[in-house]
């Protein structure tokens, strides 16, 4: 039965994969708490965004600036990257070779970078239109909320690169596996935040 018992929320490793007993349980638990704290941060950014929606102060507003098509493509890319990360985690747990893990991680990385490319290009268009954060309270709130998510994705991409380097150096030892589990939680968390951004910022701004 012990094989079926979950020690923490999310994908569990096999017990033989642990460096010392309880390490996964404590480490992943701590990471969940960190994500909770990060979620509070995003919740507040959303709240600020909500209060600043009307504060356009004559600067370009959501109707003029948001491109639903591009935001939809970004959504698809990021959701797909969550799927590919999930595939990499399954490969890590069940495959004997490391090929699946590495390939899926690389695909995730490429998708993450593509997402960032689309996002930066969106911002560049807004800047060209004169929709810069120093123009209005609304644009300030937008450029606090969405790029904070973007910075998280950037951090996630750097983390993937670091993990690929660790796999190259150490193979998949217990530490690498545990860190990949945490990275997975982080990546999926960013997906959830993005869904909220897509709904609250883009859909509401364009259709609401």
């Amino acid at each position: 039965m012990s094989g079926l018992q979950l020690k923490h929320i999310g994908l569990n490793l096999r017990s033989s994969d642990e460096l010392e007993p309880g390490e996964a349980e404590i480490g992943l638990y701590g990471f969940w708490i960190f994500l909770m704290s990060d979620a509070v941060l995003f919740a507040l950014l959303f709240a600020i965004y909500g209060t600043q929606l009307a504060a356009t102060a004559g600067a370009p507003g959501p109707q003029a600036e948001f491109k639903l098509g591009s935001a939809f493509v970004e959504t698809l890319i990021l959701l797909t990257s969550s799927l590919t990360f999930g595939l990499s985690a399954i490969a890590m747990k069940y495959d004997r070779t490391r090929a699946g893990l590495i390939v899926w991680l690389c695909v995730t990385l490429v998708l993450g970078l593509t997402f960032l490319g689309f996002e930066v290009s969106d911002f560049a268009t807004m800047f060209r239109d004169g929709a810069t954060p120093d123009r209005s309270g609304f644009l300030s709130a937008f450029f606090a909320l969405v790029p904070t998510h973007g910075l998280h994705v950037t951090a996630g991409c750097i983390w993937i690169v670091v993990m690929l380097a660790q796999i190259a150096v150490y193979g998949t030892d217990a530490r690498v596996k545990l860190d990949l589990l945490k990275l997975g939680l982080f990546w999926h968390f960013l997906d959830i935040i993005w869904i909220a951004i897509f709904s609250v910022v883009y859909l509401q701004g364009k259709l609401g």
């Binding site: 010392e20 309880g22 349980e25 404590i26 638990y29 701590g30 708490i33 960190f34 909770m36 704290s37 990060d38 509070v40 941060l41 507040l44 950014l45 600020i48 209060t51 600043q52 504060a55 356009t56 102060a57 600067a59 954060p133 120093d134 123009r135 209005s136 309270g137 609304f138 300030s140 709130a141 450029f143 606090a144 670091v162 380097a165 660790q166 150096v169 150490y170 030892d173 530490r175 860190d179």
Partner: protein
């Protein structure tokens, strides 16, 4: 490139005028000279410290034994050292402010308005973020793992990083004395006053980045403690068998996790306003300063309970130990603690009743605020019932606890008064409010921290603190408090605005004179604490308590030697009952050799913590002065350290079972030949840390 551009690239906004010495030289008035003297104290202090370390050859031990250590006990002690240093500075500032006010009735006094505003801003900022928070974090760090039977916290390296980020923030506040100036916007830093339009200088930037470093450290501490308490308890230590201090530490940690992000966000958004021209809180272009006020107090009110709950935990431990009784109403205390934790998120609006929302909104938050008095009242009664018919010993920690109960109830009552919006409208922004929050925070935090420091000091260092000096200090803290703050209630009702640099009503002066006398007595109280420490270190050979249980106390932390070995417990204990160690003592099976000992893995020292803290401070200093290369350097160093660390695999070292067993056997042999001491003689040198077995009828 022009010379000016090169200079800006290298030094940002930093120039000769930044140094208070230059300002005092060019404009030698009393206020500038006081500022320069304060700056000089920082410089002289730093030079003296470096000289002492070099002369005594303490650099190596400082780094190898302390700063790089991941031992929760050493990290806890370092936190409390930071708190002591910062307390000294902020208390001197308080005395300076009260001196100014007592002199400045229809007179200029000794410090200029700008300087006075810096004084109250640094006083508040330091007392909350760099005195109270490090003090309670230090105590939790030291005590909680020992009380739950753990060898360390859940994440020892993160613990070191938290400490060093806090130290970096504290360092930044100290540097602001000698380079530049501090914010004049108070500890809460309300915009739009703290925006560039009104404060173009570096003051608010120092405030923003010092707070940011500290709040990051605190978030990580909260995460770490929560994971420790949920996941690292020894077998049998159910949540409901934890000492009450662990419960309050848990509640405080949860509050830290949820309440620090609003602060981090508030300061980050203010920084975006100041650095990149955003409009979150500005007067124009859609800025809304109420967003800041809401964010700040979403943090600020839970913060009050972050501060007070650990002190409540200390009182629970101290009152139980020195009443020689089990804590009365353990479950009600736990429920009250958690209830306070939840309610603390529902009252933030009472910090701005007067800001124009509707009466119904005010009424809701007023009622919610009053509700908090109920669980707090439950606690007060529980402590009183714990003392009832106990064998009371009035050691310094116990004296502080009793003074707390009396004084805190007064502060609580004025708190309920302020929770009534009509009353708040009348005394809003007067020193009545200042009197109220000092009346809750000094007994509700500072007395508790001092009590905890005196109570656990023998555990940490192996010798008792002088009780005589402890009692002198106690008298000064209590008398000083009443003299310094009761007059402020009168003055507040008389309409004296808080943060006033000059006053124009001669009727205020007698009360202000009483207050300044109180302030000086409080300074004397702090001095006596240092005297106590010095005397106790000098006489340590007479005060040793090596067996480790000087107060006939109850938790697991007393079941190990004083000072404890670095691995805390030779074998992980098993717990069967609340007050685990007392239960063993009552059954007569404490101090027994275990059947078997195992190798113990403990984390190796790491430079990552000091590196990240230092890099964080460098980055922040660069940001304050707009020195781009310096900020980038600090930022990159901190993150590279994190990445590099993730490649390190050899992070633990092993202490062989034989060594553990030998150490344990030596200590048990010492315990066996030590003469037990009765409770009545615990303040004498007969106390070697082994409590006399007690008659079973008192065992309760």
């Amino acid at each position: 490139m022009t010379d000016a551009a090169i200079q800006y690239a290298l030094f940002g906004r930093l120039d000769a005028k930044a140094f208070p010495f230059v300002r005092a030289w060019e404009n030698p008035n009393l206020s500038e000279i006081i500022g320069a003297a304060a700056g000089a104290m920082v410089v002289i202090g730093a030079v003296a410290l470096v000289t002492l370390l070099t002369w005594k050859r303490w650099w190596r031990p400082l780094f190898l034994d302390w700063l790089t250590s991941l031992d929760h006990k050493k990290i806890g002690i370092m936190y409390i050292v930071i708190a002591g240093v910062m307390l000294s500075r902020a208390l001197i500032e308080a005395v300076l402010m009260r001196t100014q006010q007592s002199l400045a009735v229809n007179a200029p006094g000794i410090v200029a308005p700008e300087h006075f505003a810096q004084l109250f801003s640094t006083h508040g900022t330091i007392m909350i973020f760099f005195m109270a928070m490090p003090f309670l974090t230090g105590l939790i760090n030291y005590v909680v793992p020992l009380q739950i039977g753990a060898r360390d916290v859940a994440f020892p390296l993160l613990n070191s990083i938290s400490l060093m980020l806090t130290a970096g923030g504290a360092g930044l506040v100290m540097i602001s004395l000698a380079v530049g100036e501090f914010s004049t916007g108070g500890w809460s830093g309300y915009p739009p006053y703290t925006e560039t339009a009104f404060q173009p200088g570096v003051g608010p930037d120092y405030w923003i980045w010092a707070i940011t470093l500290s709040s990051l450290g605190t978030t990580f501490s909260g995460l770490n403690f929560a994971a420790t308490i949920y996941k690292k308890r020894c077998p049998g230590m159910h949540l409901t068998r934890m000492p009450l201090f662990c419960w309050t530490a848990l509640c405080t940690s949860i509050l830290m996790i949820f309440a620090m992000p609003p602060l981090t966000l508030a300061t980050a958004l203010l920084a975006l306003d100041r650095y990149l021209g955003f409009h979150f809180f500005t007067n124009d272009l859609g800025g809304n300063m109420m967003n800041y006020v809401n964010l700040f107090w979403l943090f600020g009110h839970p913060e009050v309970y972050i501060l007070i709950l650990p002190a409540f935990g200390v009182y629970s431990e101290v009152i139980s130990a020195f009443s020689s009784k089990e804590l009365y109403g353990y479950k009600s205390l736990v429920i009250a603690t958690m209830a306070i934790g939840v309610l603390s998120f529902t009252v933030w609006l009472h910090h701005f009743f007067t800001m124009g929302q509707s009466a119904n909104v005010n009424a809701f938050f007023g009622v919610a605020t009053m509700t908090i008095a109920v669980p707090t009242g439950v606690k007060v009664y529980d402590w009183i019932w714990t003392m009832f018919r106990g064998e009371l010993r009035f050691t310094p920690p116990m004296l502080f606890s009793v003074a707390f109960i009396m004084t805190f109830v007064l502060g609580g009552i004025t708190g309920v008064m302020l929770a009534i919006p009509p009353i708040d409208f009348v005394v809003h922004n007067t020193v009545f409010l200042v009197a109220h929050f000092h009346n809750v925070l000094i007994p509700g935090l500072l007395y508790g921290m001092i009590a905890g420091y005196q109570y656990w000091f023998p555990k940490a260092f192996g010798f008792r603190l002088s009780e005589g000096w402890g009692k002198v200090s106690f008298v000064c803290w209590v008398v000083g408090f009443y003299l310094a703050f009761m007059p402020l209630y009168v003055l507040g009702l008389g309409g004296m605005a808080r943060r006033s640099q000059a006053l124009f009503d001669p009727d205020y002066q007698p009360w202000l004179l009483v207050a300044v006398i109180g302030a000086f007595i409080l300074l004397a109280a702090l001095a006596t604490l240092f005297v106590q420490l010095w005397v106790s270190v000098r006489d340590r050979e007479h005060n040793r308590v090596p067996v480790g249980d000087p107060w006939d106390a109850r938790g697991l932390e007393w079941s190990i030697p004083a000072p404890p070995p670095e691995y805390n417990f030779a074998t992980i204990p098993r717990v069967y009952h609340l007050d685990a160690f007392y239960w063993h003592k009552a059954r007569g099976d404490a101090y027994k050799l275990a059947d078997a000992y195992d190798d113990i893995q403990i984390p190796k020292n790491s430079w990552v913590g000091p590196l990240i803290g230092g890099a964080g401070a460098v980055c922040a200093f660069g940001l304050v002065w707009h020195i781009g290369w310096m900020s980038l350097l600090g930022f990159a160093t901190a993150w590279l350290a994190v990445i590099a660390r993730s490649f390190v695999r050899d992070t633990h070292r092993t202490i062989p079972a034989a060594e553990v067993k030998a150490t344990e056997a030596r200590w048990l042999a010492l315990a066996a030949r030590t003469r037990p001491v009765s409770r009545q003689l615990e303040e004498s040198s007969a106390n070697l840390g082994l409590a006399e077995p007690f008659p079973p009828e008192v065992a309760a």
